[in-house]
Symmetry: C2
Subunit: 149 residues, 2 copies
């Protein structure tokens, strides 16, 4: 059945972020739709952000494009140039290699829902606001000076 | 600006289908968002179907995954197993190489809007309902016996 039964796909709040950057992710609940549906060309996540939740630490990928579509509610897109409200039907694109950290924050009083698209990360990912870095070669989070957490 | 100003991106109803399979596509209006936003890992189309419109001839790709998310209104997903209504927030996945032809039909009395994701087609595409075939090597539409239109 091509239509996905979202409620039958596991929803999780897991994060690979080390402390203290993991705790703030508890209000993000997501489903990985690609493995659940047999897609391999790109990843798809169905994401629910509770009020106060963030999609990720603000970041940009060296080697993976990303795209988000708002489905329900609203979130604030934060990037170097400022803040932009995204409402249902709005979308945003984040081309690989553009050093403009971005994430979504739900500042409303209701949950919001969006879909996020992108290949699995195999390259370095940069986090301008926190002392964290994803090393693409090892897929490990380290501090900006390369040291372990 | 990562948020896309959809109204500033060209909307078209073009199709590569030969007659007589092209005419029915006139009620499909789409915007190619990847070239407009610098994405290359996958394609993204913002699609509006007028009442009576179809997303494509019913088809399946040998080598490209596809994914659709309904944003507004509703459409009927038609595939080998039958018909399924897709409403705002619903999504469907079409893994490459699964020989289950699919498309969306707007049978409602209002336009519907969806986003469609997938890499550019470089492989054969099969159309179970019509005497048409996309040859992946040449990227040309031919009849099922390989002859030209």
């Amino acid at each position: 059945m091509p239509k996905l039964a979202l409620e039958s796909i596991e929803q999780t709040s897991r994060t690979g972020y080390p402390p203290p950057y993991a705790e703030v992710m508890a209000k993000r609940h997501y489903r990985r739709l690609a493995p659940a549906s047999g897609l391999t060309d790109f990843g798809v996540s169905h994401v629910v952000l509770e009020p106060g939740g963030i999609s990720s630490q603000r970041h940009w990928h060296e080697g993976e494009d990303e795209f988000v579509v708002m489905i329900q509610g609203e979130a604030v897109l934060v990037e170097d140039e400022g803040e932009t409200l995204l409402r249902a039907g709005d979308c945003a694109a984040f081309p690989k290699g553009v050093p403009n950290g971005h994430h979504l924050i739900n500042r409303s009083d209701a949950p919001c829902v969006f879909f996020a698209f992108g290949k699995a990360s195999t390259t370095d990912c940069h986090y301008p606001d926190v002392d964290m870095h994803l090393d693409g070669a090892t897929q490990r989070f380290v501090r900006k000076d390369g040291s372990d957490f």
